[in-house]
């Protein structure tokens, strides 16, 4: 019998997942490569999702062959369209600015793909994410930031539960990008980052505004631009075309620069105000996932990231119930955007996160 632990590695043809596969092979695992074929707008017309083009598939297939591992492409088009892409459309239609990558990790990578991994007898699923896991004294698994602070991807993994963390491996999380490139070079793998992942991989051209105008026309209606006190300053061209904190492109003139403060889908209104009004000291997040598996019994101190690229800000996190928290920042924070995730950290440990509701 083959006693080596079997691991499926999610491959994209890029350097990070290729190195993840190489490291697992080196460590003596029985490795199988899988690539997700995701839905994209123009798939029907022979086009390809920007993250799984024929080129990338060919690259991933070649790398798998070079590493001596089997490789399969999993048709994920229908389930991806019905979950992640629909979520993206629905959230925008509800006046929010979603991050579909978290939803993809929750439902596709660490659910759908993990199921496929288990179906071929694998114990674990590995990805090329820059993050780490470590056992906690109580036997639970912690999610830690990747060692490379500039590459850390724990934000998009904050949706993972204990059950999932026990079945995942992040082989490149212990390395900085330069080391990953060096490992790639040592294995003779392509080191150019020509396939760095795209945030909105399902858009044919990267233009989410056009995509929404086509797929959620009802959500893209002109409406008023209002101040907090209800003065109408002009017309917007459709709420999904604006993000909180945006200054340019509002098409209104005012004595001082105005910024988007809030999106009000009920009134189809864009709320604007001055820079001084932009900062907020609290937010409410829903759909909260606590990585340790239970809601903390009392409020806790944490560094909170409100976007993938935001700097963590110190705050107090108050659990309101099983699903929601209130985050109170020590100092006002700009650009708090409903639909994005608020992710809580204690040092390098990712405690969990939720979707900003208001």
């Amino acid at each position: 019998m083959n006693q080596k632990p079997r691991v499926v590695v999610a491959m994209s043809g890029g350097v990070d997942s290729s190195v993840a596969a190489a490291l697992l092979v080196e460590q003596g695992h029985d490795v199988i490569g899988m690539m997700l074929r995701l839905w994209s707008e123009d798939c029907g017309a022979g086009g390809s999702n920007r993250c799984c083009t024929p080129d990338q598939m060919a690259d991933a297939r070649r790398i798998a062959d070079q590493l001596g591992i089997p490789f399969y492409v999993i048709d994920t088009q229908a389930v991806f369209r019905n979950t992640v892409v629909q979520y993206f459309i629905d959230r925008y239609a509800a006046g929010q600015t979603p991050n579909p990558c978290l939803e993809c990790n929750r439902l596709i990578r660490f659910e759908w793909l993990l199921d496929h991994a288990r179906a071929v007898g694998a114990d674990c699923l590995a990805t090329g994410h820059y993050a780490r896991t470590a056992p906690a004294p109580d036997g639970s698994i912690r999610l830690l930031k990747g060692r490379d602070p500039r590459k850390d991807q724990s934000y998009v993994l904050s949706v993972l539960t204990q059950d999932k963390l026990r079945q995942v491996l992040f082989p490149v999380g212990d390395y900085v990008k330069a080391e990953v490139r060096a490992i790639a070079a040592r294995h003779g793998l392509p080191v150019a980052s020509k396939h760095d992942s795209q945030d909105l991989c399902f858009l044919a051209d990267g233009d989410y505004r056009r995509f929404l105008a086509e797929h959620a026309p009802d959500a893209v209606r002109p409406g008023p631009i209002l101040t907090r006190d209800g003065r109408e300053l002009g017309q917007h061209t459709g709420l999904p075309f604006y993000t909180i904190g945006q200054r340019k492109g509002l098409g209104i003139s005012a004595p001082e620069p105005l910024y988007v403060l809030a999106i009000d889908p009920a009134r189809n209104a864009l709320i604007v105000g001055t820079r001084a009004e932009l900062g907020r000291s609290a937010l409410i997040a829903g759909h909260v996932n606590w990585i340790a598996g239970s809601v903390p019994p009392e409020p806790l101190r944490a560094d909170v990231k409100i976007r993938y690229t935001a700097r963590p800000a110190p705050a107090a996190v108050h659990p309101l119930d099983g699903q929601r928290v209130q985050v109170v920042f020590d100092a006002p924070v700009r650009d708090i955007t409903p639909g994005q995730a608020a992710v809580f950290y204690e040092g390098d440990t990712c405690l969990g996160g939720g979707i900003i509701a208001l």
Binding site: M57, I74, V79
Partner: protein, 393 residues
């Protein structure tokens, strides 16, 4: 892990006796058959001996055998030759074919329609994938006067294994003055094909489907067929297929066909029995499965199924991880499977057309291997269904 190869309709391993026969042609017999000198004559003699052998086995005249690069090229020549001839003579060209042909026929047919304005008629098939002479007769009505009509009918379908009544259809087509081609790529190793008995004007075979080498095959082209070759060049094969002869491939084709013919009876008897054991085992142990294709009139080593609510891409992956090599009409290596067009033509609904599985047996297949597959398949199908349920919902 021991591996079980059940994809002989995709390709077969090279028979060691064929390899042995080919070795001189890969070595000393390197001359170009078209050359005047002794090196050329040596190669030419080898090729002509192979041609004689094939002509004898297929019961046609030696010069009616054209060596090609395989089944796809033979099919291309067979469709394009008459189409180009009609075009040159200014005569209307009609191509009558079926929905269960190999892509070498269907894609070429569409191209002839687009490029040369060929009129395309598709004869419907029954639930087994079989063409009835009555349906063909209907398609042969009202042909343009003074036109050239070609009927191309697959002998045995690659995906579901069903045999067509080629001889009967050929006789019928001839009544209407049509030329008849059959793609016998899957059939050539299974039957003692006789051109006279079949009554066809053209027939395609491929070497690697019958334990010969890849990249070589033949088209039988009977005398008197309107034919302007689409493969132009020097005067090889009497201007019907240009290009330097693939001497080793040609030798291998003759040897492979010779062996297949000599061992035909034993092989088909053994494979039919194993096939039926496999079919019975799968049908009795897996729920929601149908045998696709005709239960009796099918290729000896060919078992094909449709499983309800199964993604065959996933199924093939899990089978591969069990060391079982199989295939499907809808699977695809780049993760973009489409419903099987063959199963659609046979009348299967969307619950079934993504769940095709083809298990094709060969000379080396053992009963143990078949029993292993029967043992592991129910669990594999169940696991696949669980995954597929998510994707289909």
């Amino acid at each position: 892990m021991t591996r079980i190869y059940l994809d002989h309709s995709a390709t077969t391993p090279l028979d060691p006796r064929v390899l042995e026969a080919m070795l001189p042609a890969l070595g000393d017999l390197y001359g170009n058959s078209m050359s005047v000198h002794s090196f050329g004559r040596d190669a030419e003699r080898t090729i002509e001996q192979a041609r004689d052998t094939i002509a004898r086995l297929l019961n046609c005249r030696p010069h009616e055998v054209i060596f090609t690069s395989g089944g796809t090229e033979s099919d291309n020549l067979a469709l394009r030759g008459p189409a180009q001839s009609a075009r040159t003579d200014g005569r209307p060209f009609t191509l009558i074919t079926t929905p269960v042909e190999h892509a070498a026929i269907t894609v070429t047919a569409r191209q002839l329609q687009q490029v040369l304005g060929a009129a395309l008629r598709i004869v419907p098939v029954d639930h087994f994938g079989r063409v009835s002479p009555d349906a063909l007769r209907a398609a042969l009505q009202n042909l343009p006067p003074d036109g050239i009509t070609l009927v191309s009918l697959i002998y045995a379908n690659n995906e579901v294994g069903t045999l067509n009544p080629v001889a009967e259809c050929a006789a019928l087509a001839h009544e209407f003055g049509a030329i008849v081609h059959t793609d016998a790529v899957q059939a050539a190793g299974n039957f003692a094909l006789d051109i006279d008995v079949l009554g066809v004007d053209m027939l395609s075979i491929s070497s690697h489907k019958l334990y010969g080498p890849k990249g070589t095959g033949a088209l039988v082209l009977r005398d008197g067929v309107d034919f302007l070759s689409s493969h132009s060049g020097a005067r090889h094969e009497d201007y019907r297929r240009a290009g330097t002869h693939n001497t080793p491939g040609i030798v291998g084709t003759a040897k492979a066909l010779e062996i297949a013919r000599a061992e035909l009876d034993d092989t088909t008897a053994r494979l039919s029995a194993l096939r039926d054991r496999l079919i019975d085992g799968v049908l009795s142990r897996v729920p929601d499965v149908e045998l696709t294709g005709h239960p009796a009139d099918r290729l000896a080593g060919h078992a094909s199924f449709a499983f309800r609510s199964v993604e065959s891409n996933t199924l093939l992956m899990i089978l591969d991880q069990h060391g079982i090599a199989a295939s499907s009409g809808s699977a695809c290596k780049v993760g973009n499977p489409r419903p099987s067009s063959i199963l659609e033509a046979l009348g299967y609904g969307p619950d079934w057309t993504r769940g095709g599985l083809r298990l094709t047996l060969g000379r080396h297949t053992t009963q143990d291997e078949i029993d292993t597959v029967i043992d592991v398949l129910p669990d594999i199908i169940e696991r696949t269904r669980k995954l597929s349920a998510i994707s289909m919902s």
